[in-house]
Symmetry: C2
Subunit: 132 residues, 2 copies
DNA sequence: TAAAATACGACTGTATTAGTCCTGTTTTAT
DNA sequence: ATAAAACAGGACTAATACAGTCGTATTTTA
């Protein structure tokens, strides 16, 4: 199936919320409660976005997250590749797919690779701000 | 994850094989053996493509499949929607998704719907013959 | 009439996603 | 000081979808 993960959905919802909120710092709990997103799951996504320098965090009792970038400067592709476990639309395009069992007889690889490029280009063109 | 299913890969391989083979009728077994595709799985895919009027079948000891259309007349999107269980890139775009838990607070639906359109347009532009 | 092909529903195995649980670390209000 | 409330993160479980298998029926022809 070709479907985005919940993580990507949650990321978009969370980033949007932070960007339009007046508060300087937003707590994970506020977002998870408002949108019915499991707290622990969202917390991990936020941690990931911190590692990727989209958010910065403040620990402690008054802690939370703050945006490091403008949403208009974050390509959807970045979010996508940070959050999804794989970015290839077919299995044989993984980095370690030297063991394609179809191998010699497979002729669909190149055209599928082109399709993948087109798909990624869409993601690179869109900014997160387009989803707010 | 955003990935095409094996079924779509197998469909492309099979259609390509049939289209370039000299034989008037091609057996499932020939294709499954040549490309190491599980026979029963491929058989079901072929049955599906028959129902969708891409192939026609002949039963019996000398039976097999025959193309009903030119590959250049089959949009990849058709194959995609025949073979994949769902064509929506996010859950909340399913036909029966009236129970979106985010509901009122969700603002990312429209932009994602537009993304889906763009994605589908790529699939509609490509013909199966582009993958041979 | 036996063999070999399609036809097809039911079932099993496996991989990925989604979500939970538990324990730690940090910071601040009291 | 210390308790509370936030982030941090590894390990585990549950749910889902995909991939593949099995058994049986039907059809046709050598």
């Amino acid at each position: 199936m070709v479907k985005f993960s919940k993580k990507l959905e949650y990321s978009l919802i969370a980033l949007r919320h932070i960007s339009i909120s007046e508060d300087k710092i937003t707590r994970v709990r506020d977002i998870s409660e408002k949108y019915n997103i499991p707290h622990d799951l969202l917390a991990k996504i936020m941690q990931k976005l911190k590692k990727e320098c989209i958010l910065e965090s403040v620990q402690g009792i008054n802690g939370g997250y703050r945006l490091l970038k403008k949403l208009s400067e974050i390509p959807l592709f970045d979010l996508y590749s940070f959050v999804e476990s794989s970015t290839s639309i077919v299995e044989c395009m993984h980095d370690d797919a030297s063991d394609c069992y179809v191998s010699d007889n497979c002729t669909i690889k190149d055209p599928l690779a082109k399709m993948q490029d087109e798909f990624e280009n869409i993601l690179k063109t869109k900014m997160v701000s387009d989803f707010v």
